[in-house]
């Protein structure tokens, strides 16, 4: 493979990693905003997400050029197909993040103590997502060490399992609260819906890690 082709492949990796970094910043800002229930800070969360659609399009076009000009084969071919799917997942993560932060506007100084407590518990999911994002970035740059890749992928799976457990606990708590008050409160049901939206982010990160394993180790897409 020509030196210039290697550079193009590296450019795809670097640009994808930049998007993941933007998503991580956005997640960290969201966590900060929700920890203080400061709805004004929510606006900042959207800033790192602004350019993601355009950046994803740029990566897709770069991959198209690589296909047209450099005829990638074997692991290069797997990597380019994997990254096409990864960019699509990144777009969806950004969309989930936007929806999540818009809906979490329910977190403000007037929010009841019970709801604040549920939100607070749910923030463990955000912390897991941030960790999973950081592991994914590490995976993007890990080209050769297959053991390290497997290890990072299983760490992402662990974070995903943790979020699943946390959500089950939150769901149980919410059902208890509603059971005690003998009413089905729309506010609580919506809150569960929003938290579930946040869960989708880490779900997609697990998909991305599977694509990266396909790219670097092989197997079926």
């Amino acid at each position: 493979m020509l030196h210039i082709n290697e550079e193009k492949l590296q450019e795809v990796r670097d640009r994808t990693s930049e998007i993941l970094k933007d998503l991580t910043i956005s997640q960290k800002l969201a966590l900060q905003a929700l920890e203080t229930c400061d709805s004004k800070s929510f606006e900042q969360v959207k800033i790192p997400l602004k350019m993601i659609n355009k950046n994803v399009e740029d990566i897709d076009n770069l991959i198209l050029t690589i296909f047209a000009l450099y005829n990638p084969e074997a692991k290069d071919l797997r990597e380019m197909v994997a990254f096409l799917k990864i960019t699509s997942s990144l777009q969806r993560i950004a969309s989930n993040e936007r929806n999540y932060i818009k809906n979490m506007g329910i977190c403000n100084p007037d929010t009841s103590a019970e709801v604040k407590e549920i939100i607070n518990t749910s923030l463990s999911i955000n912390r897991c997502t941030i960790k999973a994002l950081e592991y994914t970035i590490e995976m993007i740059h890990e080209i050769e060490d297959k053991d390290k890749l497997q290890e990072l992928a299983s760490r992402i799976s662990v974070e995903y399992s943790k979020t699943d457990d946390i959500y089950s606990m939150i769901e149980k708590d919410v059902l208890n609260i509603m059971h005690k008050s003998h009413t089905v409160t729309e506010e609580y049901m919506n809150l569960l819906k929003y938290i579930r939206k946040n869960l989708k982010i880490i779900d997609r990160l697990e998909d991305i890690s599977a694509r990266l394993l396909f790219a670097r180790i092989g197997g079926r897409l």
Partner: protein, 263 residues
């Protein structure tokens, strides 16, 4: 610097072989940009090699061929010279030093590796031994074959592998510090490893000079070149950036050829 970074410009160029009734090339217009690789692609008999050979007047080794139009070679000061106006043998030699040619089949001379590279230098008037040695070493390094040959410079060039012979031929051309190098299917007789080495070398050479390459290998044209010219039946059917030609060609004919749906 020549205008628009042009190093050569082919304008309304037509070429008719000696004894032929019809021209093999008709009104070709093609720019050759400085420090870029221009690939010429097209089916056999479309005139790629004929055009390439016209660019350094190799056709003139045989008489009776007919040229029309202009092939301008731009100088560093911006002036230009129509190489079709050249008449004297000395001018042809000077032109071929500035516009070198690498052929499909490696053509080392039956002499030592050192003498192969020094041959052109001696012809151009360099006699000083230490200068010759320096230029030969630099050329062999430039052609990425120094490491393999530095301990056997006195041995026959015919003992080298096909890929090494081709790189030696490139070194021989590079030694004369040409401004343009023409490659006529330079890797079609080589295995994939030698092909990779030559391709890597060509991409490095474009830092120093401009390259025009004729190839039947679409992948080679796409991964190597900055600009691509598609020729068909003696016409220049389409010329554009390689990315445009291979992603969004203007003409159906080009697309059909590139995608193998031709004929």
């Amino acid at each position: 610097m020549a205008k628009n970074n042009l190093i050569m410009e082919i304008k309304d160029f037509s070429f008719t072989y000696s004894g032929a009734e019809a021209p093999s090339l008709q009104k070709i217009n093609l720019p050759v940009l400085e420090n870029k690789i221009t690939a010429m692609i097209g089916p056999s008999g479309c005139g790629k090699s004929t055009l390439l050979r016209a660019i350094n007047r190799i056709h003139d080794l045989y008489s009776g061929n007919k040229y029309e139009g202009n092939i301008n070679l731009y100088r560093a000061d911006g002036s230009k010279e129509n190489i079709l106006d050249l008449k004297k043998e000395n001018d042809f030699i000077k032109l071929r030093q500035e516009v070198g040619m690498i052929f499909q089949k490696p053509t080392p001379f039956p002499m030592s590796i050192f003498d192969n590279v020094a041959y052109g230098l001696k012809l151009s008037g360099i006699k000083n031994k230490s200068e010759l040695e320096g230029r030969v070493e630099k050329a062999l390094q430039g052609a990425a074959i120094w490491k393999e040959t530095k301990d056997r410079l006195g041995e026959s060039a015919l003992g080298l592998s096909g890929g090494q012979q081709q790189r030696l031929c490139i070194a021989r051309a590079v030694a004369l510090k040409p401004r343009v190098l023409l490659f006529d299917e330079p890797t079609s007789a080589l295995d994939p490893i030698s092909t990779g080495a030559i391709e890597e070398l060509i991409t490095e050479l474009k830092e120093e000079l401009s390259v025009v390459i004729v190839t039947h290998n679409m992948q080679q044209a796409s991964r190597l070149s900055d600009y691509t010219a598609f020729m068909y039946l003696g016409d220049l059917a389409e010329y554009d950036t390689t990315e445009k030609i291979f992603l969004n060609p203007e003409k159906k004919l080009t697309e059909d050829y590139i995608t193998g749906r031709f004929g």
